[in-house]
């Protein structure tokens, strides 16, 4: 049997679906830094960030077979899951009067578990980590306002209406800016390759 470290993310997840805890450990070793970093960036405190990491891997263990995770882009799925968990925790911590829904299995399936395009490119964390410089360059190619709206949306968890309120610009402008920013980011990244 091949070493777990030699397996791709998808192959690793396939092992996880067979209840191979060592495979999950390998996945933890690969993903924990970026998950922890992202969680720490978004979550209100360090303890929350740690909880997010534990929750993410619990969900991977629980949902891998159910969602046929080995056939999806594992990297995109895990990062999106981490971001969704962190934003949810952030929103709940923001206000005691928040009217967020009760966190149960249904809520988790509807708003936390990512839904990905089936035509998404299968990214590998090892490859992505190698492309760090390209990503930075692509991001630097955006205007400040474009970076800011992406930051507000991705890291702060604001929706369009809330961004409109913060920036005091029309909704159509916010939508257009987000769309332009992402498309330019894509263009910058892929043109850079």
């Amino acid at each position: 049997m091949a070493e777990l470290s030699e397996l791709s993310d998808n192959e690793l997840v396939a092992e996880i679906t067979r209840n191979k805890s060592r495979a999950l450990e390998e996945l933890y070793d690969r993903y924990s830094p970026v998950i922890y970093t992202l969680a720490k960036k978004i979550a209100p405190d360090e303890k929350s960030a740690e909880n997010i990491v534990v929750d993410v891997f619990s969900l991977i263990w629980k949902k891998a077979k159910e969602l046929n995770l080995s056939n999806l882009c594992v990297y995109t799925w895990i990062i999106t899951l981490t971001r969704n968990k962190a934003i949810d925790m952030l929103k709940r911590s923001r206000s005691a009067e928040a009217t967020l829904d009760y966190y149960d299995d249904l809520y988790e399936d509807n708003f936390i578990i990512p839904v990905l395009s089936e035509e998404a490119e299968h990214l590998d964390i090892k490859q992505v980590s190698k492309d760090k410089e390209k990503i930075e360059n692509a991001l630097n190619g955006l205007t400040d306002i474009q970076k800011y709206v992406i930051h507000l949306a991705f890291y702060e968890g604001y929706n369009i209406n809330e961004i409109v309120e913060r920036l005091g610009i029309p909704k159509e402008t916010v939508r257009a800016k987000i769309n332009t920013a992402l498309n330019r980011l894509c263009d910058n990244f892929y043109e850079g390759s």
């Binding site: 209840n19 805890s21 060592r22 999950l24 450990e25 933890y28 924990s32 830094p33 970026v34 998950i35 922890y36 970093t37 992202l38 960036k41 303890k47 929350s48 740690e50 909880n51 534990v54 929750d55 619990s58 263990w61 629980k62 077979k65 159910e66 882009c73 990297y75 990062i79 999106t80 971001r83 969704n84 925790m89 149960d104 509807n110 839904v115 395009s117 089936e118 035509e119 998404a120 490119e121 990214l123 492309d131 760090k132 990503i135 692509a138 991001l139 949306a153 991705f154 968890g157 604001y158 929706n159 369009i160 939508r175 987000i178 769309n179 992402l182 498309n183 980011l185 894509c186 990244f189």
Partner: protein, 339 residues
């Protein structure tokens, strides 16, 4: 919807800034595999997830790995418990405070998890859905046997209770019925007694009045009241005369006792003459005296009847004391016709 609008929606979805309603609708759109540029959406989703790598990567604390391992072990134990109870596994993966457990002294929880999963003698290795179903079936049949046993016992208890209630009901009914019947028998007894009494009195009446009853078999019985000649006399009675049959019945009370050489004699007094109907003696216990072969005098010629005291052998004409008289045309006269 324009391409521009679709692109904007895909970007908003990819970066995660859709409001709840739009997010739900767009998600359903994707899950239903509606017409969308899925390649473009995939590209946008991918690029967004690369952003965290721009951040300065941090290694998580060392203890975090063990926390994850312990959480997974807890999940596994919970799944086993759920299997045993036959329930669906629901695990709350919401944020939890990380607390140290007392399960193991070692820090390598992944090793423990691996040992638990990979040791043959360990608890069931396979926890995915198919095996879960198989084990559920096995547990379910045992559970069903246990349940059916409990159900049988419950049914037996219910049957026993119903039987006891039926017996009590029957006993109560029987008790009530017994007393009802007893009461009815008492009433019947009383009725029988009164009927017997009535019958006895009727028999006595018939016995006492047999002569009268027989006499009333005749047609046109002439009833003539008799009374004493003296106002102070207590003599009274009735003379029943059947002229056609030439018989008469006398019923008279309070006649005085006469000496053995004397007798009472009954007379018909007509316009021209007095005729003897016959003589009689007072016999104790006999209420009526029957006279036969009385003279066949037409009724319209009869003025009165009288009872006198005569010598024992009788008299041709009334010569003794008159004790009772009955007028032929008095208001008390009746003619009883047999129906």
């Amino acid at each position: 919807m324009s391409d521009q609008a679709v692109n904007e929606m895909m970007s908003a979805f990819a970066v995660g800034c859709m409001d709840k309603e739009n997010y739900t609708n767009f998600k359903k759109h994707i899950e239903s595999k509606s017409d969308l540029p899925y390649g473009e959406l995939g590209r946008l989703q991918a690029i967004v997830t690369m952003l965290p790598f721009v951040l300065e990567q941090e290694q998580p604390p060392a203890h975090l790995k063990n926390h994850v391992g312990r959480r997974l072990m807890a999940i596994q134990d919970e799944m086993k418990e759920k299997l045993k109870s036959g329930k669906t596994l629901i695990i709350d993966t919401n944020q939890k405070r990380l607390t140290k457990t007392k399960t193991s002294a070692t820090n390598d929880s992944f090793a423990q998890l691996a040992a638990a999963n990979e040791t043959p003698a360990a608890a069931p290795r396979e926890l995915h859905v198919e095996k879960l179903t198989f084990n559920e079936n096995k547990i379910t049949s045992e559970t069903m046997a246990h349940h059916s046993e409990s159900s049988t016992l419950s049914v037996l208890w219910i049957v026993v209770i119903i039987l006891i209630l039926m017996v009590l009901g029957l006993a109560y009914y029987g008790y009530n019925r017994y007393y009802e019947l007893k009461e009815e028998i008492g009433k019947l007894d009383n009725s029988l007694t009164s009927t017997k009494t009535e019958l006895r009195s009727t028999n006595e009446f018939i016995t006492k009045n047999a002569a009268l009853i027989e006499f009333f078999n005749y047609d046109n019985v002439w009833v003539v009241p008799l009374s004493g000649t003296d106002p102070s006399s207590k003599v009274s009675g009735k003379l029943y005369v059947a002229l056609t049959e030439k018989e008469a019945l006398i019923q008279v009370d309070n006649l005085p006792n006469i000496t053995p050489d004397k007798t009472f004699q009954v007379w018909i007094v007509s316009k021209n003459q007095t005729y003897s109907m016959g003589k009689f003696f007072i016999e104790p216990g006999s209420k009526y005296v029957k006279l036969t072969n009385i003279p066949g005098i037409p009724k319209e010629q009869i003025l009165q009847f009288k009872i006198t005291e005569e010598p024992r052998d009788g008299s041709v004409v009334p010569s003794g004391q008159i004790y009772a008289v009955g007028l032929a045309k008095s208001s008390g006269n009746k003619t009883m016709k047999k129906y």
